[in-house]
């Protein structure tokens, strides 16, 4: 067998299993929405907020599991609740937003770990799968839920694209033109929470930040407009999550770290070799001279 054929075989053969088909479907969907939504986080310098929301979903997930509710719903509620509390602390006290995030997300995370550790003793629930991802273990129900979330997220981004672009670029100008910026910000928080929830089983809550930020950041070094960043970023995200799935399958790795190693490598390549900004071969236009 030629090496090309062997490689092709290595990629297609596992797909005869239903669990691999489910994993592939989820990897593609999560790769797309993480990159698209994460692009907003990157341009708004809200990376830490993405981290905060992702760590905060755990207690909601545990409580939903205990109550027998869909764990995606519980995780989503906890994620949104954490942003509300962060906003509350930082507007009602002199505490800065990043400090508020640090306090709230670690508190939520600690509560989540405590709850899951307690209940996993006598239940079929594994803390590690939520922390580091277990893409090979997704159920048909989770594929369905991920599909619903992905459709919803992409629909919102497409419908609100021009408003979210204006708001992310110039929040004050957007507000002064009469756009409801508070509502747009809340919408963005909901998008992030939905995306994190859909990604839990793929990358895990600890490393999901990487899949949110790195694809957009990679694309940002290569193309100049936000929708192009999102589209190319989605390609990077899908490639990474699918590659991570195979690494997980063949090397028996947790899927989160496998995906993150791929996407980080892609970012490093763009950082070194981007035609516009690459530190090794770029046209040398960065840093731009700031003329004042």
């Amino acid at each position: 067998m030629s090496p090309e054929l062997a490689l092709l075989n290595g990629l297609t053969e596992p797909l005869q299993y239903a669990f691999m088909q489910r994993s592939l479907a989820v990897a593609i969907m999560v790769g797309i929405i993480c990159s698209v939504v994460g692009s907003y986080l990157m341009v708004q310098r809200l990376a830490l907020l993405g981290d905060a929301i992702s760590h905060s979903v755990l207690p909601g997930l545990a409580i939903a599991f205990l109550l027998g509710v869909n764990i995606f719903v519980g995780a989503f509620i906890a994620g949104v609740l954490s942003t509300v509390i962060i906003g509350w602390i930082h507007t009602r006290s002199p505490i800065k937003e990043d400090a508020a995030m640090g306090i709230v997300f670690s508190a939520f995370f600690a509560l989540g770990i405590t709850l899951i550790t307690t209940i996993q003793k006598d239940n079929k629930i594994d803390l590690n799968h939520f922390l580091f991802g277990n893409i090979l273990g997704v159920t048909a129900g989770e594929v369905r839920d991920t599909a619903i979330i992905a459709a919803l997220v992409l629909l919102i981004v497409v419908l609100l694209y021009k408003e979210l672009l204006f708001y992310s670029f110039d929040p004050l100008g957007a507000k002064a033109s009469g756009l409801p910026t508070g509502l747009l910000h809340a919408g963005l928080m909901v998008l992030i929470a939905l995306t994190v929830v859909a990604s839990m089983k793929v990358v895990g809550v600890i490393l999901v930040l990487s899949l949110l930020i790195a694809p957009g950041a990679t694309a940002y070094l290569l193309v100049p407009r936000l929708h192009q960043v999102m589209l190319l970023g989605a390609g990077v995200g899908v490639f990474s999550s699918v590659s991570g799935m195979y690494l997980s399958y063949y090397l028996n790795l947790p899927s989160g770290p496998a995906i993150v190693m791929v996407v980080s490598t892609l970012f490093a390549l763009a950082f070194l070799f981007s035609p516009r900004y690459g530190v090794l071969i770029g046209s040398g236009r960065w840093p731009f001279k700031v003329r004042r």
Binding site: V43, F166, L172, G173, S177, R225
Partner: protein, 246 residues
Amino acid sequence: MAPAPCITIDHLSVNYRDVQALRNINLTLRPGKLVGVFGPNGAGKSTLIKAMLGLMPLVTGRVTYGEDTLAHQLDRVAYVPQRSQIDWTFPATVWDVVMMGRVQKTGWFNRFSTASRQIAQDALNRVGMADFRDRPIGALSGGQQQRVFLARALAQEADIFCFDEPFVGVDQKTEDVIYKIFRELAAVGKIVLVVNHDLGESIMNFDQLILLNKELIATGPRDWVLTRDNMTRAYGGHVGFFGHVA
């Protein structure tokens, strides 16, 4: 046709954190005049615009345009923030930024119309930036960036234009373009309010001056406002400018 309405600022006071930033401001801004807001650093010039537009809470007072609160009629306002408030590394082209001026008029869920694109293109032509349409905004000079923002404001087809320090870090050509467009806007009956801090020759461009230092020192035509007494009250004894003082 009814005469175009004025903006009336009535007993406006604003706090920034716990410090009073503006105290009991009363002003009328009439259409057709180029109005300049002057005062030392920290005088509350930018705060005045933000408070007028409802971008920060008022402690007391009211700002009306015609019959209703101005903050309820923001679809008639074009606001250009200070250039330093913008992240110029944002992944957007000149065209993307000018089209932001059409977002509010286009409405939720709608795509930009051909008419909107034409309005944005005309605005770019007017500021002399049509050749830069597809450039990333980060690759422009300060003056070019400011002209793109001016084009965005023009594309909004507003009745009220508020500019915060539009001349900071711009070249002479840009300054000429901006003043020419300000004059054109005033000539067709728009309200044009410009925060500035340069007390040089350019002050001659303005029809009405507002001299501010936490409170309103003086307002009116240049000769009324630029008295030695007013300047001392605004700037203390340290102002080196007296070239145009009556």
